[in-house]
Amino acid sequence: MRVGGWAAAMLGLVLVLLCGARGGLGADPVIVTTPNVTSGSDVQLYCNITGAASAITGHKWIKEEDVLQSDDTSSHQTVYNLNEVNTDTSGEYVCQFLTNPPAEGIVFVTVKPHVLAYKKSEHGNEGDTGVLVCKCNSYPSVTEWTWYKKENDHYMPIVNSTEGRFFIKSSGNRTELRIVPLDIEKDPGEYICNGTNEVGQDGATVSLRVRSRLAALWPFLGIVAEVLVLVTIIFIYEKRRKPDEVLDDDDGGSAPLKSNATNHKDKNVRQRNAN
């Protein structure tokens, strides 16, 4: 990037001379920036200003409304260091010279798309809607999304309203494939979403599984059976223990009004032992 910076400086110089020759007064400031960056690591982004309208009181680097760097030197050149050019760091970098009025230049860091599947494996219920989503946060945004289904090593393209069941909705950073209704025979498999922008293209794979309607039925029946078995065991155990329990209740001096009414009818059972 040193070459680029040097070339920019030379260009700047030439422009200054030109402007100076024309008398400079009232001409807009000219900012020269690094040309588009598409790859590399430890990249430096330069902005050089010539013909500033007033004294330079500082600089700022801004990306998407976040101030990345700021200082208050009065240099005609400001530099921003980029560790690596990738999807996350791609975007528009605005260098701002704090003059009165402020002057800006833009450096475009562009990359080819890095497409990610929202979920690598999707499930859907038979008869319900299946939604497969891919996203891409690179700059510049994707201009074209395409979907394919992998069938025996071919890639079948899918377009909106294929078979009346497939619907594609796309935007610059996201695409959605909806399958309504899901068919358990035809629909499971791998789907590929492909995104293209002016730098290049990339794709991601999403695998779709369709659950049968009755998938949840077996665990359900299993648990109900377990509940019935346990309840039966508990009641049988209790019936078997009942003779013992009755003896236990007669223990020392308690006065239970027993559930069998016979005790009362007899009325000669002296249960209360109050002293």
Partner: protein, 492 residues
């Protein structure tokens, strides 16, 4: 100065044996009742997408469920008074199961409100109260431990249900999950089967017995069959189902007011802990981990509190211990805004978990302690329906405070202040109550030394006074008076 630790039951509770099986069953039902609404929130996102409604409309499901669980308290009490715990719990388990299974076939959000909210919620109400009631019937000396263990079911179940729900959802989708959850809730029926009835016959049979006794007495001329007597009988009949004379019971009223106040600030901090953590910049997983810490500490704190509350130093003064834990809880919340980083929040979560567990473990134990096991059935129903309002209002008020001021600290201050006030109120009022009880003991003690002695000769781990709450003596003496008449009759 002692609580009515003597049993107003007409038998000695086993304090062990099959009681532990009952505690196990109770921990399952209590666990489901408390943790099911919380664990259900995992499905919200998917349901929101499926029915295309807003978050607050989905959140109504759990609100309705909680309202049904707490509002169904009195009905639950009436049913238990009539049928005993076991049938009610089994029926409750069936209701829950049916509710969830029908929810898996729902096609609109209103149907979900009914199936999940009302039906399952009411089923959970029918599970919760009888479980707590039957512990009072099986335990006396070890009742705090039993209560602590049963209430410990809630965090354990929460820790199990939350990942289980996620797993079910990933593998079966939300409809399949509801189906399976319905089956899982049927396990409450198993817990109910464990609730073997104990003690004298409840409700109708006892009523019959009393009636027979009275008729014989009237025939022989011992009692005058006046209009007043019949009125009293009708009142007594209704009171057998839902004891409204509790509203004249001093201890009950103190408990009611204190708890209703406390619940205003009880649940809101849990609801807002994770959002607060995210607000101060902690990532989502660490924020969720705070709740896990809370649950784990809670799990240990509940049985531990039960043990402490059972010790001979604390049990006679258990009401003070309860008020202390409420105030401690409040103090934690008041100090929370001082925690500005993750370590601070972890410490807060630990103390909060501890305090939360302490309060929950003793929630029903103290009520049992105040009103006695027999009237507890009705008391718990009346208390839960009163608490219903403040429980439901607590989090939304907290949410409004957060939205208005844009700062979480006011919500914590409000919760903390409310709980400290509630704790102090309970402390002072219980001091007054204990003194009044001591006075009443002395008064009754001089009148008739044999009064109020039910079967306590065996359980004398307690020191000195074995008197019950003064007002409670009345219904019992009537009964005993009648019994004496009968016995006198039979001897003749």
């Amino acid at each position: 100065m002692s609580p009515p630790v003597t049993s107003d039951l007409a038998y000695i509770p086993p304090d062990g044996g099959w009681g532990w099986a009952v505690v196990f069953g109770a921990s399952i039902t209590v666990g489901f009742s408390y943790s099911f609404p919380k664990a259900f929130t995992i499905y919200f996102k998917e349901l929101q997408a499926a029915y295309k409604v807003s978050y607050s409309q989905i959140a109504w499901i759990t609100s309705i469920m909680c309202a049904a669980t707490y509002g169904g308290g009195p009905i639950s009490s009436i049913l238990v008074n009539r049928f005993g715990s076991r049938p009610v719990v089994i029926f409750g388990g069936l209701l829950c199961g049916i509710g969830m299974v029908s929810a898996s076939f729902c096609t609109s959000i209103v149907q979900l409100y009914i199936c999940v909210g009302l039906i399952s919620g009411f089923g959970l109400a029918l599970n919760l109260q009888p479980s707590v009631i039957i512990i009072g019937k099986y335990f006396l000396k070890r009742r705090p431990i039993a209560n602590g263990l049963a209430m410990a079911g809630s965090p354990v179940m929460l820790c199990t249900l939350a990942p289980l729900n996620q797993f079910l959802f990933d593998n079966f989708g939300w409809r399949g999950s509801f189906l399976i959850l319905g089956a899982i809730l049927l396990n409450c029926c198993v817990a109910g089967a464990l609730f073997r009835p104990i003690g004298p016959a409840t409700g109708p049979i006892q009523k019959e017995a009393n009636k027979e006794v009275k008729e014989t007495a009237k025939a022989v001329g011992f009692l005058a069959a006046t209009e007043e007597e019949e009125d009293k009988e009708r009142c007594a009949k209704f009171n057998q189902y839902l004891d409204c004379s509790l509203f004249k019971h001093r201890g009950f009223l103190i408990y009611l007011v204190g708890n209703v106040l406390m619940f205003l600030g009880f649940f809101a901090p849990i609801v807002f802990l994770a959002p607060y953590a995210k607000h101060i910049g902690i990532d989502e997983y660490s924020a969720a981990f705070l709740l896990s810490i809370l649950a784990i500490v809670d799990m240990i704190a509940r049985p531990a509190t039960g043990l402490i509350a059972n010790s001979k130093w604390v049990r006679p003064k258990i009401q003070y211990f309860f008020s202390f834990s409420i105030a401690f809880n409040g103090a934690c919340h008041l100090l929370c805004p001082l925690a500005s980083d993750y370590a601070g929040l972890v410490i807060y979560s630990i103390f909060f978990g501890l305090a939360f567990g302490m309060v929950c473990a003793m929630l029903f134990e103290t009520l049992m302690d105040l009103v006695g096991a027999v009237r507890f059935t009705s008391a718990v129903g009346l208390v839960t329906i009163a608490e219903c309002c403040t429980i439901l209002l607590g989090p939304p008020i907290g949410g409004t405070l957060i939205d208005t001021f844009g700062d979480y600290k006011y919500m914590f201050i409000k919760c903390g202040a409310v709980m400290v006030v509630a704790g102090t109120f309970l402390f002072i009022m219980n001091y007054y109550n204990y003194r009044m009880l001591a006075k009443e003991e002395k008064a009754v003690g001089t009148k008739d030394p044999e009064h109020g002695r039910t079967v306590n000769e065996g359980s004398n781990n307690w020191d000195s006074e074995k008197m019950q709450d003064g007002q409670e003596l009345e219904p019992l003496t009537d009964e005993q008076g009648l019994k004496k008449e009968v016995n006198g009759l039979s001897e003749a």
